[in-house]
């Protein structure tokens, strides 16, 4: 996932204003291009030694995009108008039937709703918790580097292993949650086996894993805020809360946009956690879109229908990202 242009340096030093998402990177780009062009007037790419190597060095990357992304994306588009079970010799043309079926598919609608709920829950958790963690990790305290490392541990671990750990934590019999509750004399709920709670258990697990990563992004944003802003505000008599509300929050806007955009993109694609912890259950309560897609493709071998699901999901993510930039990106320098 990508593209924070937080050029705050090594996470320690200051730097230029908060590294916002795809927003700031555009500005970095346009700043870089004229610089190069200014140094040497832009000419057309001629077949010189230099330009030949320019082609050659970009060619492998382009070839990979074309072969391993371009082809699958085109092929999935083609398949979405066909019916195919991987075994039969050739896909069979069905026109818009897959998309038409999708519109009336209540299970798909439900999985889309559940994905949206998951995304909403995890994004809200992540913004609040990561910012709080980043503020805490930004303090000048002893051993702060040690805490920063710890905060980052879950983010480098495999979702599968994490899923298994939390599967046990939520186990109704010998899980940590209910053992603790039993210690307090309360019989805990059945967590992942409870249709109302299961999705939120996944949210908790995903939040636990990802807070550290997003806190790192927020921390870089915090550290890129010029300290003279705070000094000036203090001279004007602003308190800690005032500083936070009037300086930190507005200046973190690009970083926050990045966090929200990335979180939404990632959450809409949640799969491994669901696969390991619930397999979509209980009673389909945690079936998210990508899991539904996976089932259609690799359990029922409905490749055409799965491709249609994939295209609709991509469309949803794309539109949501555009909306976020429209809504929250207004004051982000582009």
């Amino acid at each position: 996932m990508d593209a924070a242009r937080t050029r705050g340096g090594d996470g320690e030093g200051g730097g230029r204003p908060a590294g916002g998402a795809d927003a700031t990177m555009t500005s970095t780009r346009s700043a870089a291009v004229p610089a190069v062009a200014g140094a040497r007037p832009r000419r057309r790419l001629l077949w010189t030694e230099e330009s030949r190597f320019a082609w050659l060095s970009l060619a492998p990357a382009l070839a990979f995009f074309a072969l391993f992304v371009g082809f699958p994306v085109t092929y999935a588009f083609y398949l979405s108008f066909h019916e195919w079970n991987l075994m039969s010799p050739a896909p069979e043309w069905v026109g818009l039937a897959n998309y038409r079926e999708l519109v009336g598919d209540a299970t798909f609608a439900r999985s889309l709703l559940q994905t949206a709920l998951f995304t909403l829950g995890i994004t809200a958790c992540l913004v609040v918790l990561s910012l709080a963690t980043a503020l805490l990790l930004d303090q000048k305290l002893r051993h702060i580097r040690f805490y920063r490392t710890i905060s980052y541990l879950p983010a480098v671990t495999s979702v599968v292993a994490i899923g298994i750990v939390w599967l046990w934590i939520f186990d109704p019999q010998f899980g940590l949650m209910n053992q603790a509750l039993r210690g307090l004399g309360v019989e805990g709920p059945r967590w992942l086996a409870d249709t109302r709670l299961a999705l939120w258990c996944l949210v908790i697990t995903a939040a636990w894993r990802n807070v550290g990563y997003f806190a790192t992004i927020f921390l870089a944003g915090l550290q890129s805020i010029d300290s003279t802003f705070y000094e000036a505000a203090r001279i004007d008599g602003a308190g800690a809360w005032g500083c936070f509300r009037r300086i930190t929050l507005p200046l973190l806007r690009p970083t926050t946009l990045f966090v929200v955009v990335v979180s939404v993109i990632l959450s809409f694609q949640v799969f491994a956690l669901v696969y390991v912890m619930t397999s979509g259950g209980p009673a389909g309560a945690t079936s998210v879109v990508v899991f539904y897609l996976y089932q259609q493709a690799f359990t029922y071998f409905r490749m055409g229908y799965a491709s249609a699901v994939g295209y609709v999901l991509f469309g949803v993510i794309f539109v949501l990202t555009l909306i976020q930039f429209r809504l929250f990106g207004k004051h982000v320098e582009l």
Partner: protein, 278 residues
């Protein structure tokens, strides 16, 4: 530099908060590590105090029926292979995009594509990869998964390395050119040494990603080439779950990422904030 006044008073509270947060992060790891050293009976009885045993690790690593060592080797081969390849392709690509005189629409196109790419769920591409790989005999091979992970990592690598390459002074390249360096020499002798921190960051991130990747590995591998995450997930779906052995294999799967984080944290953080990834 913020608010020196109340800081001393607040320091105790902040330390307490940090401790609490750290405990919250560490406890699940400790819990699973403890389970890995327990006998099945000790685990199921919920014993807090127990005599640690190594049998789980022995079973997982050396038992004749266990394929965990193979999975481990598969993960390492795929991780190293895809990381090495993506570094080479990514460095050349990032240099070309940023420093060769491409028209700006082409540059913006490549970079924008690298972002839009992340909105495509990898699993939508898996179907096509599966068909393609079956046709050319790459299904269930290390090379197949290496190519897939390379593809998934390439946009991120292009982004991060672009950030580093843009900071290499153009004058440095020009000086090398005046000295008569050809482009490959320039790339290898001038660019690569200067962006070494970026390369380190990228390689750590790319390896960790590959090590942890699940959805694609699940569908492009079978028994012989299954990676660690795939093996662990399968573990969880067996009829009779060996909880303690599952814990031991999870612990083993976490170790490489932990070690890499501890060794290269500074670089990882720098890579994330310079180009950022998931």
């Amino acid at each position: 530099v913020r608010r020196k006044g109340r800081r001393r008073l607040g320091q105790g509270a902040l330390h307490a908060l940090l401790w609490l947060a750290a405990a919250f992060v560490l406890f699940p790891f400790l819990w699973i590590a403890a389970a890995a050293f327990k006998t099945q009976i000790a685990l199921l009885s919920g014993a807090v105090l127990f005599t640690p045993v190594l049998t789980n690790f022995q079973e997982v690593l050396f038992s004749k029926t266990s394929e965990y060592l193979d999975n481990f080797v598969n993960s390492i081969v795929v991780g190293l292979g895809s990381t090495a390849a993506v570094l080479v392709i990514g460095t050349m690509g990032a240099w070309s995009v940023n420093r060769a005189r491409w028209p700006s629409w082409a540059v913006h196109g490549v970079m924008a594509w690298a972002i839009v790419f992340h909105m495509i769920p990898p699993i939508t591409m898996v179907g096509a990869w599966y068909v393609l790989f079956r046709a050319v005999g790459l299904y269930n091979t290390h090379l197949g998964l290496i190519l897939a992970h390379l593809t998934l990592n390439l946009p991120m690598v292009l982004w991060i390395l672009s950030a580093f390459i843009r900071e290499v002074p153009v004058e440095l390249e020009e000086a090398a050119r005046i000295d008569g360096a050809s482009t490959p020499v320039l790339l290898w002798r001038v660019i690569v040494p200067v962006i070494r921190p970026g390369l380190l960051a990228t390689s750590l991130l790319a390896f960790i990603f590959s090590w942890n990747e699940f959805a694609v590995a699940l569908n492009l591998t079978a028994k012989q080439t299954a990676t660690v995450p795939v093996a662990i997930a399968k573990f969880a779906q067996e009829f009779e779950i060996q909880y303690t052995q599952m814990a031991a294999s999870s612990v083993l799967s976490l170790l490489p990422a932990f070690v890499l984080l501890l060794l290269g944290q500074r670089h990882i953080v720098r890579g994330l904030t310079a180009g950022a990834i998931k």
